[in-house]
C-alpha cells in the first residue's frame, strides 16, 4: 500500500511568499532566502515510493519452552533491493505474550545487501502461539511518500508444561476388568484383607486360613480386596461461566489444567487409565489410556487443545448437546473427575447427571471466592451450598484453594470420605 504523507504541505506557499516579498521589496537577499524554501519544496515533490525487497526470517530460542521461561526472538531483515533511507519494522508478537526486554520495533536505514536485526525476549505461556505478520514501512528521503506492507514470517512457539507431580489421588469404587491398585468392593486375589469364607474346591492353597485350620480344623479361604484398575476421565469445565479470574488475574482454566495434569500424572503412575474431556462449547476428547506415549499425548492435549485455551469461548453453549456428546464418548465403567469452579448451579446439575448415568463423579473445585465484600461473601456461601448438594448425593468434592498445594486439599477432603 502506497500513500502520500502530505507533511510538506505549505512549504511551496512559504517559499513563494518569500520570493514574492523579495521581488516586491527589491531585496535580492530575501529572494535568496525564498530559494532555500523552493529547494525544500522541490525536495518534497518526490512522489516515487521506495521499492521493498526484503528477506525476513525469525529465530526463536528456545522454540519449545516451559511456562515462565524467557524466549529470545531475533528477527533478521536483509535488504535485497536499493538503498532504503527510512525503514520501519514492527514484529508481530503473538497476542497473549508479554515482551519482557528489548523492543520488537526498529527504524533504520539499510543499504543493499545489508542486514538489520530486532532482538527481544518474551515470557512463555502455556499453549501454541503463532506470530502475526511483520509490519514494514519504507519512506523516500523527503518522507513524503510511504510504502507499507505486511510480511508473513511463520513462527510458532509451543509451550507444553510438564505434568505436575502428586503422590496419589483417591478414587471412587468403580473399576474396569484389569488388575490394578484399586481396592474394590469384591473379594478375591489381592493384598488388603476383606473377609473369610468357606473353602471351595479349586481355591489357591496360599489363600487358605491356616490359623483357623489349626484352631478349629475348618478349611476356610481368605478373601482380599480385589485390586482392579480404574478408568478415569478428567472433565474440565470449559463454559464461559467457568472463565472467571483468580486473584492473580489469570483465568481459572489455568488452575483447572494444572490440577488435571497433576491428577492425571498421579493416576497414570498408579496404573490407571486416564482420559480428558471438556464440558463446554469447545470440544476436547482423549479416551482413557495408559503408557508413555499416551501420557505424552495427554500432556500435549492439556497444553494445546483449544477447549483449554486461556481465552474464554465465543461460541454458544448448548448444555443438552454437550452432555449428550460427553455421554456418547464416556465409557460406562469410567469414573469422572469433574474440574469446575462451581460458580453456577449448572455445574452441580452436570455432576449429578453424570453420576446418575453410572459414572462415579469426584468434583475438584478451585475456590475463587473471597469474603471481602458482602457480594463476594454471598458467592462464597452459594458455592458452599453447591458443594453440600453434591455431597448429599454421595459425590465427593475436593475444595481446593489455588493458593495452596493440591495434595493438601485432596488429603483434607479424603479424610471425610467413606468407600
Amino acid at each position: 500500500m502506497i500513500r502520500e504523507t502530505h507533511r510538506w504541505r505549505g512549504i511551496s506557499a512559504l517559499a513563494l511568499v518569500a520570493v514574492g516579498v523579495g521581488v516586491l521589496l527589491r531585496r535580492p537577499g530575501i529572494l535568496l532566502g525564498g530559494i532555500v524554501g523552493v529547494a525544500y519544496a522541490a525536495f518534497a515533490t518526490q512522489t516515487s515510493a521506495p521499492s521493498l525487497s526484503l528477506e525476513v526470517t525469525r529465530e526463536l530460542d528456545p522454540s519449545d519452552p516451559e511456562p515462565g521461561e524467557p524466549v529470545s526472538v531475533t528477527l533478521s531483515i536483509v535488504n535485497e533491493g536499493p538503498l532504503l533511507m527510512d525503514l520501519r519494522v514492527v514484529d508481530g508478537v503473538p497476542e497473549g505474550l508479554e515482551v519482557e526486554s528489548g523492543s520488537p520495533r526498529l527504524a533504520t536505514a539499510l543499504r543493499r545487501g545489508k542486514r538489520a536485526a530486532i532482538s527481544y525476549t518474551v515470557t512463555a505461556r502455556r499453549g501454541e502461539h503463532t506470530f502475526d505478520p511483520v509490519f514494514v514501512a519504507a519512506r523516500n528521503p523527503a518522507s513524503s511518500v510511504e510504502r507499507e506492507e505486511h510480511l508473513a514470517v511463520d513462527s510458532r512457539l509451543t509451550c507444553v508444561p510438564p505434568l505436575p507431580s502428586m503422590d496419589s489421588f483417591p478414587l471412587r469404587d468403580q473399576s474396569v476388568r484389569r488388575v490394578g491398585r484399586l481396592a474394590t468392593g469384591s473379594g478375591g486375589a489381592g493384598v488388603e484383607f476383606y473377609a473369610v469364607r468357606e473353602y471351595q474346591r479349586g481355591d489357591a492353597l496360599t489363600r487358605i486360613d491356616w490359623g483357623r485350620r489349626a484352631k478349629t480344623g475348618e478349611l476356610a479361604t481368605i478373601e482380599f480386596h480385589e485390586e482392579r484398575a480404574a478408568s478415569v476421565v478428567l472433565v474440565l469445565d470449559g463454559r464461559r461461566a467457568a472463565y472467571v479470574g483468580d486473584p492473580e488475574g489469570e483465568p481459572v482454566m489455568e488452575r483447572q489444567v494444572e490440577a488435571a495434569g497433576t491428577v492425571a500424572n498421579a493416576l497414570l503412575a498408579d496404573g490407571d487409565q486416564v482420559g480428558i474431556a471438556s464440558l463446554g462449547p469447545r470440544w476436547a476428547w482423549l479416551g482413557p489410556g495408559l503408557g508413555r506415549d499416551h501420557r505424552a499425548r495427554l500432556r500435549r492435549h492439556l497444553a494445546l487443545a483449544e477447549a483449554f485455551a486461556p481465552v474464554p469461548p465465543d461460541e454458544r453453549f448448548l448444555p443438552g448437546l454437550a452432555l449428550r456428546r460427553l455421554r456418547k464418548h464416556l465409557p460406562g465403567d469410567s469414573q469422572v473427575v469433574f474440574l469446575t469452579p462451581l460458580t453456577d448451579d449448572a455445574g452441580v446439575r452436570f455432576a449429578r447427571q453424570l453420576e446418575a448415568q453410572g459414572n462415579r463423579v469426584t468434583v475438584l473445585s478451585p475456590d475463587l471466592t473471597t469474603t471481602e465484600t458482602a457480594g463476594r461473601t454471598l458467592a462464597h456461601l452459594e458455592r458452599w451450598i453447591r458443594m453440600r448438594q453434591l455431597r448429599e448425593r454421595g459425590i465427593r468434592v475436593v475444595d481446593w484453594d489455588p493458593g495452596g498445594p493440591l495434595a493438601v486439599a485432596v488429603e483434607r477432603a479424603a479424610r471425610g470420605w467413606t468407600r
Binding site: L14, P28, L31, G33, A42, M85, S103, R105, A107
Partner: protein, 165 residues
Amino acid sequence: MTTFDDRPVRLGMALSLGLGLTAALFAGSGTSGGVGVALLGGALLLGGLGLARRSLLTAGGVLLFMAHLFRIWLGGGLTLSLVGATFAVAAWDVGEHAIDLGEYVGRSARSRHAVLAHAAASLAVGLVPVGLGYGVYLLAPGGRPVSALVLLLLAAVLVTLGLRR
C-alpha cells in the same frame, strides 16, 4: 500487542532542538530586530517536540524562517541568515520525523540510523543551494551582481523542479 512509549525519539528531538536553537541564535546576532520572533519560534518548536504536537512544531519552524528573512531585510549578514533559514526548515523536518518515528516504533526501539540518515538529507537539501550560491557569488567577476546570481539560482531550482515532475 503491548503498549509502548510513543513519544518522539530522543536523538531526533535533540537534533531538532539543536538546529532550532542555532537558528534562533543566528537570528539574534548582528541586529536585534528579529530576536523576538526567533525566540517565539524557538519556544514553539520546543513545545511542539515536548508535547508531540505537529501544529506547534510547524508554527515554530515558520517563525524561525521568517525571523531570518526579517534579519536579511534589516541588513543582517546574508550567509548567516541563509544558513539560519536552512536550519529553521531542517529543524522542523527532523522534529516532525522524530514525532513520526515515535508513533511508529516508539522510544525504546533503535532508531538512530533512520534519524541520522534523514537529518543528513534534510540539511543537504538546504545547504547545497546556499553553498552553490555562495560559490557563484565568490566566483562572479566584479562587484555584487546579486540580482543576476539570484535569478540564475532560481532558474536552476525551477529547472530541477520541472525535471522531477
